[in-house]
């Protein structure tokens, strides 16, 4: 801690941070729940169980259900390649993984429209073969996959780089196959980081608005996810219903936050377990 600073400076800093947090986080959060129940609990319940809302929830779950496993496989393979091997194009791959973070989600959505849309590059071909991607679920899955691609890989790469590949080498020398090495050595070592990445990826997949909005076409009951449904209700001046659905998403965010904190805590514990006990025992042994 900065001991040189006076008490006044310290308290001012803490106060500024608290006021900022209250204004940008606590207040909107409270408002969401307040507005959601503004017309009573019955209206709240009706808003979230209405067929369009349920359909949006189902679609959100479906998209997350596809996107998260896909990104799990992609993220783990990309992190494995990048951290355990040195190959030409390694840095390019690293940059590509970061691309979705750098590009605005709306632009990401536009890219897919330009590619697969009726007037896009592959549009005529898709039309010929009767495949619909844009303004349909496949496009939304693609857009969400793109936007959430970095989460798992980004979480794992530093972890795997830090752990090095000596344990994997040891496993292979002992006769393990590639799969045995991954399952018995690599996976247990990265499990907490992986879970953390999964939680973040899932949260973003469910909450994604920009990219999905561009490719969805906003067809009620068909291509609406929860975030899109919130917007539609809001634009129709159905504020209470809009906030009611938003509160569901907010609750999801809070659950995610709790899970994330729990995983972080578990991760830290396993790290200190590794680093903390060793020296003391070394002393006992000596």
């Amino acid at each position: 801690m900065a001991r040189g600073e006076s008490r006044a400076v310290r308290w001012t800093q803490i106060a500024v941070a608290l006021v900022f947090l209250a204004l940008t986080l606590a207040l909107p959060l409270a408002l969401v729940f307040h507005e959601a129940v503004a017309k009573g609990l019955a209206a709240y319940w009706a808003a979230i169980t209405e067929p369009d809302a349920l359909s949006a929830a189902r679609l959100t779950l479906l998209i997350a259900g596809i996107v998260v496993p896909v990104n799990l496989v992609f993220g783990v393979s990309a992190a494995w390649c990048i951290s355990k091997f040195d190959f030409p194009g390694r840095n390019l791959l690293l940059t590509l993984i970061d691309l979705p973070f750098a590009v605005s989600p709306v632009i990401s959505g536009m890219i897919f429209v330009l590619l697969f849309g009726a007037h896009g590059w592959l549009g005529p071909w898709l039309l010929e073969h009767d495949i619909t991607i844009i303004f349909a679920v496949p496009g939304m899955v693609l857009a969400t996959t793109f936007v959430t691609a970095p989460f798992i890989a980004r979480e794992l790469i530093p972890l795997m780089q830090e752990q090095g590949s000596e344990e994997e080498e040891a496993a292979i020398v002992l006769g393990a196959t590639g799969w045995q090495t991954f399952r018995r050595v690599t996976l247990p070592n990265i499990k907490w980081g992986l879970l953390y990445g999964l939680i973040l990826c899932n949260a973003r997949a469910m909450g994604e608005f920009g990219a999905v909005s561009v490719v969805s076409g906003h067809i009620r009951g068909e291509t609406n996810t929860l975030p899109l449904h919130v917007e539609i209700l809001y634009n129709e001046y159905a504020f209470a219903a809009s906030f009611a659905v938003a509160s569901v998403l907010t609750l999801l965010a809070l659950v995610t936050l709790a899970l994330k904190t729990a995983v972080e805590w578990q991760q830290r514990r396993s790290v200190t377990h590794e680093a903390g006990i060793a020296p003391s025992l070394e002393r006992i042994a000596a």
Binding site: E167, L174, A278, A285
Partner: protein, 353 residues
């Protein structure tokens, strides 16, 4: 199981890590690969294990070509410098790993695995720690787990990368003796990498000295120490002083004085380096002809059975080191700042600057 390495080459980018290395490890021997860092010894070890592909050359295990064989089929035991124990497994599971990953038909039963692992843990004196995690062990204990794990798969050859590198001096000495005894018990062909000459000379049956990707000399510890083949080996093994001079008709001239170098009778005024081991340095209060160098005593350290002196040569201003037995030192009655005359009981001269 013997190892034959022939004309091995390996480059990393433009850097030649191994440059035409050939090597024979007779079956059952314990061989040390000794050299300064960057000499290619670890690269050689990793290529023998199959962890690194070679750019050229061949490796045979007991006459059988293993050059292109994948690591997991080579049946080598490898002990990593930092042990590389599986951090999430107990000591027991670490040692059992190599048995558990065998394909089902050749996988031993749970009871057999248990027996083998406990036997090995007993061999490395760690029976009581079977349930511990690697993080709960000391460095020396981890090293022994790593060894037991490597031995569990009954390797044809055992390869150890700087096995004592990360340990403190006392544990190192203990483990060194222990490895020697273990090798006598298990008798598996073993190659270990070290940059510590004392370790190499004390533990191994045979020492291979490497420098800049090449083998400088290989032989028993006595051979390489008593009869170094190259200037590098002489300089690398033991404490030596070196003198730059000119060789001419069996004499080497250093400054104003001359020393005998009978093996260079044919040489005609060429550059040479004379090596004198610190314990081959003779000191006298008076000059003896022109075969001694004048020096001033700069520093005297008198602990232990050997007295170590630092001497400033008057001619050229270089500092050399001399080790004298305590009795001899006391007979000379030398003190700091005093003028002495330095000669050598044994000199080895190599051509070059």
């Amino acid at each position: 199981m013997s190892i034959q390495v022939r004309h091995l080459r390996k480059a990393f980018g433009g850097f030649a890590a191994l440059d035409d290395v050939s090597l024979d490890v007779p079956g059952g021997e314990l061989v040390a690969l000794l050299g300064p860092s960057g000499s290619g010894k670890t690269t050689l070890l990793r290529i023998i294990a199959g962890l690194e592909p070679a750019d050229g050359g061949t490796i045979h295990f007991h006459g059988e070509d293993a050059t292109g064989q994948p690591v997991r089929e080579r049946q080598v035991g490898f002990v990593f410098q930092h042990y590389a124990l599986f951090r999430h497994m107990s000591v027991f599971e670490n040692v059992a790993f190599g048995l558990r990953v065998r394909p089902r038909p050749s996988r031993p039963s749970e009871a057999e695995i248990r027996e083998t692992v406990l036997g090995l843990l007993h061999l490395v004196q760690l029976d009581v720690l079977a349930d511990r995690r690697p993080s709960e062990l000391s460095g020396g204990q981890r090293q022994r787990v790593a060894l037991a794990r490597a031995l569990a798969v009954k390797p044809k050859v055992l390869l150890l990368d700087e096995p004592f590198g990360a340990l403190d001096a006392k544990v190192r000495k203990e483990l060194r003796r222990w490895l020697r005894r273990l090798h006598e018990e298990v008798h598996v062909t073993s190659v270990f990498v070290t940059h510590d000459q004392e370790e190499a000379l004390e533990v191994s049956d045979r020492v291979v000295i490497m420098n800049e990707g090449r083998v400088e000399q290989s032989g028993t510890p006595e051979e390489v120490y008593e009869r170094p083949a190259t200037s590098f080996v002489y300089g690398f093994l033991g404490d030596v002083n070196l003198f730059h001079g000119r060789i001419h008709r069996g004499r080497v001239r250093i400054g104003e004085s001359e020393l005998d170098a009978p093996e260079w009778a044919e040489a005609r005024d060429q550059a040479g380096i004379a090596y004198v081991r610190t314990y081959d340095v003779e000191l006298a209060p008076t000059p003896s002809g022109n075969s001694s160098l004048e020096a001033l005593v700069r520093h005297v350290r008198t602990f232990g059975p050997v007295v170590r002196l630092e001497l400033d040569l008057v001619d050229g201003g270089r500092t050399i080191e001399a080790h004298l037995p305590r009795s001899r030192f006391e007979g000379l009655a030398i003190a700091k700042g005093q003028r002495v005359y330095v000669s050598a009981t044994h000199v080895r001269v190599f051509a070059g600057d």
